[in-house]
């Protein structure tokens, strides 16, 4: 072996900033994510669903209403499972990255963006492309579709934050994935039934305020109400949504729901980031 080059003391002055480091991690992560079979399959399923609904259902808004139910179940499931599985699966590489000169928070931001950007991008494209292909974007559809895409992206972000929160706080991989799936079952499927049962059991009491709290406490409920307010299909809104509209009316209600969605992205994100900063690996 030729004479090795002597070790170089690190030069702190020329170190890149945290934002640059986070972007480096994110860019490589999303390259990895976009090549994942699961993400490609997810995008194809969503694309096929939108395409099919447009061909069968005809008009843009009615296709969106049908697509809503698919998106409300599929997007949280995919973000929760991929989000937690990717953190658990990359544990060894994350440890290697933590041993590199990068602040923990920058790494966390990079990992989160590295998943949210490609997943949200795939979601938006898979929904929007069929509308473009089928020339279904008219004056009626365009604003509704735009809101739909925003809400879908927010769902991706919120549930990726929740997935990260689970994966960072639950050490055991099997338990963590179990918790993520339970969270999806709870918020996506069981929640409405429980709310209805509570409302029925307590029907002699004033339930408007608790119902509003119930709705704000579930990002899937929020997303549904937000879109149905815009699409003006009160019949599909469910109990919490109907109460919500009575309480706030359409424009204010949409504003409140949008802010609450953002809180669902930022809240779990903040707790997950804090836990990531403090955690022993």
């Amino acid at each position: 072996m030729t004479a090795a080059i002597a070790p170089v003391p690190p030069n702190a002055a020329s170190r890149p900033g945290a934002a640059t480091l986070a972007r480096t991690v994110a860019e490589h992560q999303w390259r990895d994510v976009l090549r994942s079979r699961w993400v490609i399959a997810y995008a194809l399923v969503l694309f096929a669903a939108a395409e099919l609904l447009l061909r069968l259902g005809g008009s843009g808004p009615s296709a969106l209403v049908s697509l809503l139910n698919i998106v409300l179940l599929l997007v949280p499931l995919v973000a929760l499972v991929l989000g937690s599985a990717s953190l658990y699966g990359a544990r060894e590489f994350t440890e290697l990255l933590l041993a590199q000169p990068i602040p923990r928070r920058a790494l966390f931001v990079g990992l989160w963006l590295g998943l949210v950007v490609p997943l949200a991008g795939a979601t938006v494209l898979a929904i929007a492309l069929p509308f473009a292909i089928e020339r279904a974007i008219d004056a009626d559809t365009a604003p509704a579709l735009a809101l739909f895409l925003v809400v879908a992206a927010l769902l991706v972000a919120a549930f990726t934050s929740l997935a990260f929160l689970v994966a960072v706080t639950v050490h055991d991989r099997a338990r963590g994935l179990g918790a993520a799936i339970l969270l999806w079952l709870g918020l996506g499927l069981v929640y409405d039934g429980v709310v209805l049962a509570v409302a029925t059991a307590l029907r002699d009491w004033p339930m408007e305020k608790p119902m509003l709290a119930f709705m704000l406490a579930n990002p899937i409920d929020l997303a549904r109400t937000l879109l149905l307010l815009r699409l003006d299909v009160a019949a599909l809104m469910g109990y919490t949504g109907a109460v919500f509209r009575m309480a706030f009316g359409t424009p204010a209600g949409m504003g409140i729901a949008l802010v609450a969605m953002l809180a669902w992205v930022a809240g779990p994100w903040w707790f997950a980031a804090r836990a990531f900063d403090r955690r022993d690996f």
Binding site: P7, V8, P9, P16, V25, H28, D32, A99, P101, D280
Partner: protein, 258 residues
């Protein structure tokens, strides 16, 4: 000198490290040996900044704590079980790590010696265990670290790669790098270690040059000396360890453990 001073680490009720004191001298390979669950992995995690000591500190020659992100620019780490993003190619992995250290010109020597370049065009998921291990070694040496942390580095390497790897470790040492090595292959420790640090129940029971260890234990080889350390511990070793049965003492070199 990289100083590990009075490092304590507890996981719940379990005190894993109970006041570890150790100095890693530049230009020396220090083998950290000890039975399973003696605290080796936890000590390594503390050195890498992956786990925060409850008490004590680990500092670089310039006095910086290893928990400062910039301090880790001085450390090269080769983990026991390397994993990389499955869908990235080896070159993409290296490009990512390079981008985290734009202030260092990467050293491609080991990459060349392993003749690895052609294989790094393929996605990591198609690479064999040995090739991943080589990639992991390349990463550890690539940024000319002041401290190399090698955790069971040759598991999975073929004989030729092992030879190349050992030469790289010794060359880095001769160039002034501090090397921390764990291995369950005694021959490997024999070939590379200058110093031995014997860790048991979360404290260092012996730290010093291999020759002094041989002298102290009256053993003829490092293998015998290590067996002696683990079977008939010095007076500093608590009673509980003295009653450990011999077969277990012989198994202690099997690596792993917390």
């Amino acid at each position: 000198m990289i100083r590990i001073a009075d490092v304590h680490k507890r996981f719940g009720a379990l005190a894993v490290l109970r006041g570890v004191d150790l100095a890693l001298a530049p230009g020396r390979v220090t083998a950290v040996v000890g039975p399973n669950a003696s605290g080796k992995s936890t000590l390594i995690k503390c050195i890498l900044g992956l786990a925060a000591p409850d008490r004590g500190a680990i500092t670089l020659p310039d006095g910086r704590d290893v928990r400062e992100p910039t301090a880790r620019a001085a450390i090269g780490y080769m983990p026991q079980a390397p994993r990389f993003p499955e869908n990235l190619t080896g070159h993409e992995v290296l490009a990512m790590l390079d981008a985290l250290r734009p202030d260092v010109a990467p050293d491609g020597t080991l990459l060349e010696r392993f003749s690895l370049a052609a294989q790094l065009d393929k996605p990591v998921r198609t690479l064999s265990g040995g090739t991943r291990q080589k990639l992991s070694a390349v990463v550890a040496f690539r940024y000319r670290p002041q401290l190399l942390v090698l955790d069971e580095p040759t598991a999975g390497l073929d004989p030729l790669a092992t030879t190349i790897f050992k030469a790289a470790v010794l060359a880095a040492r001769d160039a002034g790098t501090s090397v921390l090595l764990t291995s369950h292959v005694v021959g490997e420790l024999q070939a590379m270690a200058d110093d031995v640090a014997f860790l048991l129940d979360g404290t260092i029971h012996f730290a010093g040059p291999v020759a002094r260890l041989l002298d102290r234990t009256g053993a003829r080889s490092l293998e015998e000396a290590l067996a002696a350390l683990m079977q008939a511990p010095t007076d500093r070793i608590p009673d509980a360890a003295l009653h450990g049965d011999a077969p277990q003492a012989l198994r202690v070199m099997n690596g792993g453990g917390a």
